[in-house]
């Protein structure tokens, strides 16, 4: 007999990160097993059924949805990339959650651009109006900073207290 299932919708932050559903599944499964053990993980039958537009839909058996939500909260890296999963809704059907994703298209719209600050070039992803994620490309590592449009507009960048622009 087929078990009753529940679907959990989560927003992926930052939304411009392209996350592989398989890697996301592995991260959620690892978090679930680490928190609740193999027995509960086998009962929950966690799966990632959709991952697009900065959102992910995970599936579990009915009764395990709050455990799945907690496990998703403890996911902090997927495939070596830092992310946060913000759970938004739980439903008995995938269709209802897909409708909810479509209700918030503005949250997923990401504008990529290049910025020049003090002679240095940076990649910037702007979304949700004033959020700007700035990636400073270095030789050894990529530095990621989370700023707002207001701070970038300030010529001397005094509000962030960030020396040399960023």
């Amino acid at each position: 007999m087929r078990d009753k299932r529940r679907y959990v919708l989560a927003r992926i932050e930052p939304p411009w990160e392209e996350i592989d559903p398989k890697e996301l599944y592995l991260a959620i499964h690892e978090a679930f097993t680490s928190l609740f053990g193999d027995t509960r993980a086998s009962e929950a039958m966690v799966a990632v059924v959709d991952c697009r537009d900065g959102h992910a839909i995970a599936r579990c058996t009915r009764g395990c949805e709050s455990l799945l939500q907690i496990a998703m909260l403890t996911v902090h890296t997927v495939d070596g990339r830092r992310v946060a999963l913000r759970t938004r809704a739980t439903s008995g059907t995938m269709l209802a959650l897909k409708r909810r994703i479509n209700d918030y298209p503005h949250s997923c719209t990401v504008q990529a651009r290049t910025l020049e600050i003090d002679g240095n070039f940076y990649y910037a992803h702007q979304y949700q109006g004033q959020k700007v994620d700035v990636i400073a490309k270095g030789f050894k590592k990529q530095e990621l900073l989370f700023l707002t449009e207001k701070e970038l507009e300030m010529k001397n960048h005094a509000a962030t207290g960030i020396p040399d622009g960023i």
Binding site: L73, H76, A84, E143, T148, E151
Partner: protein
């Protein structure tokens, strides 16, 4: 203040600007937060940002000296917990608002005597969500055990409890709903979480009530 995140670490100790963290806090259901290293108390995008000072010295005299230097008392002063005698001394100091990182200390460093002292002196004990999110295995089990002990003492002696994300990035901040879920791991009820999130507001309004205005 309805919901306060008791500690966030904006740039330069973290990777997110203060304004961005305030924006994230508002979206996540908080109306105030304590920013460690913030220059002054201010309101950003509808979120009250309180100035937070963390004292991490394990020496009582140094901590006392640092408290004296902090000035007018508008900042939220947090002291990292240490051994039993240090914690006991900190509880007797004036000006300390929160003791944090109890989970990193020995099990006997915070007992029923200290719980009673914390309740009498209105010093809050902080529940840090960061190790619940970022650690795995035995370290997290130890943290959950310590938080369970703290909550047991809290329900008996009624001292203040605060909840902090201790986030160094917007990715580390969690919503009020998420906090309720995470705190359920160590048996904290929704009402207790709601009460803990309002603790700083209560502490500050209580402190203002005894101010003498000429």
């Amino acid at each position: 203040m309805i919901a306060t995140d008791a500690a966030v670490h904006p740039y330069p100790s973290g990777d997110s600007s203060l304004r961005r963290m305030a924006l994230a806090a508002r979206e996540l259901g908080f109306d105030s937060m304590v920013a460690v290293g913030a220059a002054a108390e201010e309101e950003i995008d509808g979120v009250r940002v309180l100035q937070g000072i963390v004292l991490s010295s394990g020496n009582q005299r140094e901590v006392m000296g640092q408290i004296r230097k902090t000035g007018d008392g508008s900042a939220v002063i947090m002291v990292n917990a240490g051994d039993y005698s240090f914690n006991r001394a900190v509880l007797q100091m004036r000006g300390v608002h929160i003791i944090r990182h109890i989970e990193r200390t020995h099990k006997k460093s915070f007992d029923h005597i200290m719980a009673r002292m914390a309740a009498d002196r209105a010093v809050a004990i902080d529940i840090d969500l960061n190790p619940l999110i970022h650690s795995r295995g035995p370290p997290r089990q130890k943290v959950l055990q310590r938080y369970r002990d703290i909550m047991r003492l809290h329900s008996r002696y009624g001292f203040f409890v605060t909840i902090s994300s201790n986030a160094h990035s917007v990715l580390g901040q969690r919503s009020v709903r998420d906090v309720v879920l995470l705190c359920s791991l160590f048996g904290m009820e929704k009402d207790q979480v709601g009460e803990a999130l309002t603790t700083l507001g209560k502490m500050r309004s209580g402190r203002r009530a005894v101010e003498v205005v000429p």
